[in-house]
Each structure stands twice: as C-alpha cells, then as structure tokens.
C-alpha cells in the first residue's frame, strides 16, 4: 500500500492542489499520519505514470493570485484506482489497506467491499489452516527443543493476530451491511440485535398529579 492510492482517490473525487490534498488527506485518513513530502512524492509518481495530469495555468479562488498546480485524474488514473479498490488487500499490513479502502469507498462500492472482506477472511482462515498443518507436523510430547517451543509461540502469536483481524473484518462487514440496509440499498437484512422497532423507555419520573 502506498500513499499514491489515497492521493489518487482524493484527486478523483475533486481536482486539487498539493497542499489542499495534504489537508484533505490529514482530515480523512488521520490514523495514517502521512507527511506533506509524502503527498508531493505521490503526486510526482502519479504524474510520471500519467495517472494524474497537472495544470499550472489555473488561478483558483482563494489562491491570492498565486499560480497553483491543480491535479486532475486521467482516465488511466481512474482505472488504476478502481483496480486497486477491488484488488486483493495485503495481509501483512493488518487491516490498514482494507481500512483505507473503506475510508475511500463511495457508498455504491460497499457491496463489493463486503465481498472483499469475505475474501480476506477466507485468506485468514487458510493461513490458520496452514499454521495448523505446521503444528500437527511438530513433534509432540513435553520434551521440546527450544526451537520448537519458539515456533509454537510464534504460531500462537500469529493466530491471535489473525483472530483480531477476523473479528475486525466481521465487524466491518456487519457495519457495511447495516449502512446499506439503513440507506435502502441492500436487499439483505443485517444480522443485528435489536433490529426491530424500538419502543420508548418508560419514564422513571412520575408525571405530576
């Protein structure tokens, strides 16, 4: 995952200049704490790849008469972004890439992100199955060499991390489904407690006689 995807996503939403993109990125994706140089480096990389076009002839309102380079997405940039959005997300950086996709997603893209969360959960389950195969091949009994004990610790740690990721994926999927349901774009009912109509709680204060 690179900042270029986030910057490109913002440029697709609305053409902007470098500092404006940095401010929007800081507001939108605060947890990642990208720096200004990273944003400019991303814009340079995107320009070189012809994924964004730079126009220096514009004098936007509020610029104080200074020329600013405004970046717009090219058709190639839009395709590149869509490919990233619906491509597999790296497992090695826990949640971060899928988190970024959630932040950058437009509501109509959520059903596909629901499917992608299922795919990533499948990847997690396959990884646990691979660890289980490793564990079964490990020698049994209480007399382990340290290397085997350490391998077991590493496996346990990874499984615990995978559990966190699976729980997060399930939570994210549930939230996306609920959002889609509440906005009338999902035929499926979310699986949530208290989905029925709520009745008001009775007042604890006695009404005046």
């Amino acid at each position: 995952m690179a900042s270029k995807h986030a910057v490109l996503g913002l440029v697709i939403e609305r053409p902007d200049y470098g500092y404006g993109l940095y401010k929007r990125l800081a507001d939108r994706c605060a947890p990642w704490a990208w720096s200004r140089p990273a944003v400019y480096a991303a814009l340079e990389e995107l320009s070189s790849a012809k994924l964004v076009s730079a126009d220096e002839s514009l004098y936007p309102a509020g610029s104080g008469g200074h020329a600013r380079t405004i970046y717009s997405a090219t058709p190639g940039g839009v395709s590149f972004f869509d490919e990233w959005m619906f491509g597999p997300s790296a497992l090695e950086a826990p949640r971060r890439e899928l988190e970024l996709k959630l932040v950058m997603a437009r509501p109509h893209e959520l059903p596909r992100l629901v499917e992608m969360s299922l795919a990533q959960e499948q990847d997690c389950v396959e990884r646990i199955a691979a660890l289980a195969r490793e564990a079964r091949r490990a020698p049994g009994g209480s007399q382990h060499a340290w290397g085997e004990v350490a391998a077991r610790l590493v496996r346990d740690t990874e499984v615990k991390q995978l559990r966190l990721r699976v729980e997060w994926l399930q939570e994210a999927r549930s939230t996306m489904k609920l959002f889609l349901h509440q906005h009338g774009t999902a035929p499926v009912r979310p699986h949530v407690l208290g989905a029925g109509p709520h009745e008001p709680f009775p007042s604890l204060v006695h009404p005046p006689e």
Binding site: L118, E121, Q122, C124, V125, E126, I128, A129, L131, A132, R133, A135, R136, G140, R155, D156, V159, K160, L162, R163, V166, E167, Q170, R173, S174, K177, R189, H191, A195, G196
Partner: protein, 241 residues
C-alpha cells in the same frame, strides 16, 4: 472421498414475533472419516445451532443434512436414532446427579443395550482411552474441569460412533488442558478413523484441527481441503484409539 456427514446449503432461522434472526445462512460442510474440523465464532455466532443441525437435534429450515450419503429425512425415525450410536455428542453438563460415579456416567448410553457388567467394562475401556481410567470411581462433583471434559468425551465415545460432535469442549480449561483435549480428539480422528466436528471458543485451539472455519452472521468460511493425509476412505475399518 465420501463424507460421513454433509450439510448442503442448510439455513436456519429463529423467529421472535415478526422478527427473523438468521442463524445459519446457506452453510455447506462435509466431515470425513479421519479428520477433525474446528469452527470458531464469536459468542452468538450460531456455533451451537450449527452443531445441533449437524447432529440432527434440530432440522434445518432449508437444505439437506445427510449422514453416510443418505438424507437423514429418509431414515426412520430420523437422525435422532443416530445420535448416541453413529454420532456421539460430547456433553458439557455431565450427569444430573452430582454424586454419580464417572464410570456410571460413561456407561449410561449402554444401559439397556448390554448387560450392566459389560457396560461397565466398556465404560472403563473408554475412560482408559481418554486417559482418566483412575477417575472411574470418583464422583462427578469431585472431578476437575479437565477431568470432567475427558469423562464427557469418554461418554460420547463409549458406543463407538463414527462421528463425534463437540460444542466448545475446551471452554473453562487452562491452556495445558485445552491442548490435551485437542490432541486427544485429533488422535481419535487419526487413529480411530473418527470424524470430529467441534466448535472452539478461541482460535489457538484450531491448531490441532485438519480443517478450520469461521462462523459469523450465519455464514461459514471454511479452509480448503487439507492434504488428506489422515482422511480415511469410508467405509473404513476402525482402529482402536
């Protein structure tokens, strides 16, 4: 490879007034002889319902549950008679009477089918297979949580089922006891040719299984087939544990 137990596109809902809660949503699953499948899910994910449907304790609303290739609905009187014979269910509650001896509890499924003496002999053998023969004459109330779990497994195994179903058998156990129980169930699968379907309260317990799955919102995500090194062709000759 033929499956011992197959759930094919099974769904199950519970209704509270007009509100439907989907507990199982188009779940498909095969359990084969010689393999252990561990399913993890958060509390309320539908794990127990999945096991009850698999054991024939509850019918699915949709889909097919078949045992050894036959739709259980075609059996008379249904899957119920398989539970306890071909299918063993690992109880977590134990006997109703706290004073019952472990060997008496394990022998219970055999009473009325074989002589009391034979029932106790088999119960003793079953307790030995799970490594707690020395608990045979202990009252239920005097057993530790780990011993109770092992006695419950002996109880489920005493009628030599083909399939064992266990609902969170490692709950309330410490890490060493959990590992012992998981290793025991895996050994039962591999050495005895038993199919084991169990749920686990935490993911590290899945590490002893041949296949693993995650259940949420009624959907089951299952790992692809294992390399099959321990899976036994059905019908396979059972070996002693």
């Amino acid at each position: 490879m033929a499956a011992l137990l197959s759930l094919t596109h099974t769904s199950k809902s519970y209704w509270r007034g007009p509100h439907e809660t989907v507990v199982l949503d188009d779940v498909s699953l095969d359990v084969r002889a010689g393999e252990m499948i561990a399913i993890w899910g958060r509390r309320g994910a539908g794990k127990t319902t999945l096991l009850k449907v698999a054991a024939g304790l509850e019918p699915p609303d949709r889909g097919i549950v078949s045992f050894q290739g036959r739709d259980v609905r075609s059996r008379r009187p249904g899957l119920g008679h398989l539970l306890g014979t071909s299918i063993g269910w690992v109880q977590r509650s134990g006997p109703l009477s706290e004073g019952m001896l472990a060997i008496e509890y394990v022998a219970l499924p055999l009473l009325g089918r074989v002589s009391r003496r034979e029932a106790l002999r088999r119960a003793s053998a079953s307790l030995g297979q799970v490594g707690v023969r020395d608990c045979a004459r202990s009252g239920w109330s005097s057993l530790t949580d780990g011993e109770r779990t092992l006695v419950c497994i002996a109880h489920a195994l005493v009628r030599e089922p083909r399939l064992l179903i266990a609902d969170d058998p490692t709950a309330n156990l410490d890490i060493l006891q959990r590992e012992e129980v998981i290793a025991l169930l895996a050994a039962a699968a591999e050495q005895r040719g038993l199919g084991v379907l169990m749920t686990v309260p935490d993911m590290p317990e899945m590490l002893g299984a041949h296949r693993v799955g995650s259940l949420s919102e009624g959907g089951l995500i299952l790992s692809q087939d294992d390399d099959g090194e321990n899976v036994i062709d059905f019908p396979g000759k059972q070996r002693s544990l």
